[in-house]
Symmetry: C2
Subunit: 240 residues, 2 copies
Amino acid sequence: MEGRPTQNESDAAGSNYMHGLAIDAVIFGFHDNQLKVLLMQYKKSDIFALPGGFIHKEENLDDAAHRVVSERTGLKDIYLEQFYVFGDATRSDPSPMRTIMLANGIAPGNHHWLLQRFISVGYYALVDFTKVTPMPDRIFDGCNWYALADIPPLMQDHAQIIKKALASLRANLDNKLVAFNLMPEEFTMNDLQILYETILDKKLLRPAFQRKILSLGILERIAKKWTGGAHKAPYLYRFK
Amino acid sequence: MEGRPTQNESDAAGSNYMHGLAIDAVIFGFHDNQLKVLLMQYKKSDIFALPGGFIHKEENLDDAAHRVVSERTGLKDIYLEQFYVFGDATRSDPSPMRTIMLANGIAPGNHHWLLQRFISVGYYALVDFTKVTPMPDRIFDGCNWYALADIPPLMQDHAQIIKKALASLRANLDNKLVAFNLMPEEFTMNDLQILYETILDKKLLRPAFQRKILSLGILERIAKKWTGGAHKAPYLYRFK
DNA sequence: TCAAAAGTGTTTAGTCTACACCCATGA
DNA sequence: TCATGGGTGTAGACTAAACACTTTTGA
C-alpha cells in the first residue's frame, strides 16, 4: 500500500525507492475456523490499511514483496503469489498520507512523491497463523488479524484488493495445492475440510473430500492420534 | 516494453509519463492455422521487441494498455487481460534503448529515465487477425506477425513474457470463453477446434469437441453453408 | 451402552472416451 | 459411386454424488 515507510524510509527525498509504485500484501491466516487477514491501524485512529511497502531501486519486485510480508509477520519462508496490479489513476487519495506525514513531523509539499499517484502490485501471502508475530511499523502502531466478515473500513481501494485476492485464492485452491500453507504442520482431515469450506464459502461432502485429498497422495498419515471428544480419534496428517 | 515512445513521447524530460513503469503487450492473432504474435522490429536491424508503452501520469493502467494495443493494431474494442508483472531488478538492459535514442538524435545522460530500471505490466490481447492493420511507430519501423514457432530473438525478457502470456491464455481457455476473440465473425467448428488444438498444443477428439462447445450454448448456427472440397459442407457459426 | 464424529463401502447418476455410423459434396 | 470430411449415435469406462454402514471414543 502507499504510505508505510519503515525504518529510515520516510526520508523526504525517498531516493531509495522507486516512485509511483507500491506493493500491497493481503496476508491470509486461518484461526478459529475463520479466514483472517492482517491489517495495519494508524495511531488509535480508525484508519486501517493493508500491509504494504515500496520497492528499493535495486530490488527485485518479488523480493520486495517477501520483505514486506516478512517485516509484518516475522516469518522467513512465505508462500506468496502476485495476483493483480491496481492502476486506476484515481485510486490514490493523498490526504491520509499527508495526515500521517504531518503527524511524523514532515511537512510535505504538494509534489512530494508519497502524495503522488501510486500503482500498486497486489500479492497475497498464505501463512501459518500460529507462527506469526504481528509487528507494527513506525507509522502504523496497530497490526492485527481481522476475520474476513469483520473487516473495518479500509483506506482507498484496499477492500477491493482483498476481494480480488480472495477470488484469486479460490481460483488457485484446486490447481495449486495452496491450502496447506494455511495449516499448522499437523492437522486433521476435518480441519482441512473446514478451511476449504471457508475459502470456497460452501459446504463439502465429507466422504468425497477425504477421498479427493487422499488421492492426491500428498499427505502423510501420522501414527499418533488425537485426544478430544467422545468419538473416534481422527488421524493427524502432515504435508509431505 | 521499455523503449517505445510514440508521437511526442520521446521528449527527453518525459514529464508526461510515470517513470520506471511500462506496459508490454502480447498481441495474439490466429492465421494459417497458427497462433501468431505482433512484434516490433527496429530499423532493419535485428532488434525485435514486444509492442509496449508507458503510462500517462493521469491515465488508468488499463486505459494505457488499450491505447498501446490500439495504436499498433488500429482496433477499437480489444479483449485485453492483465497477466503478470515483470519486476526483476536486472531485466532492463539500457543499451538497446541508448542505441535507439542516439539514432533519434537524443544524447541521453546516464540518468535519463528511459535508461533506468523498468517494471513492466504484461497484458495479452486477443484480436481478429483479419481486422488488424499492423502499425509501426516512430521508433520501430517494423510491425509484423510472427508464428510462435518462428519468433526471432527478442529484447530483454520478452521471450519469457510471451511464454507466460501463452500459459495464462491456456489456463483461461476453458474458464473464460476467450478463444472467440481470436476468430473472425463466422467460422466453422473445425476452425475453432484447430485454434483450441493450437493453443493447447494437443489433439482433441472431434465429436467431444463439437458437443462440448455446443453445450455451452454460446454459438449460433448460421443457415448459410460453406462451399469447399469434396465433402459435406460444414455449418458456419457465430458467437452470440 | 449411547451419542458423536471418523473412516470406509456401495449404489447410482452423470460425464467423458472412443469408435461407429450416416450424411452431404465434388470429382 | 467413391473418397473425404462433417455431424450424430452409442457402448463402455471413468468419475462424482449421495447415502449407508462400521469403528472408535468419552461420558
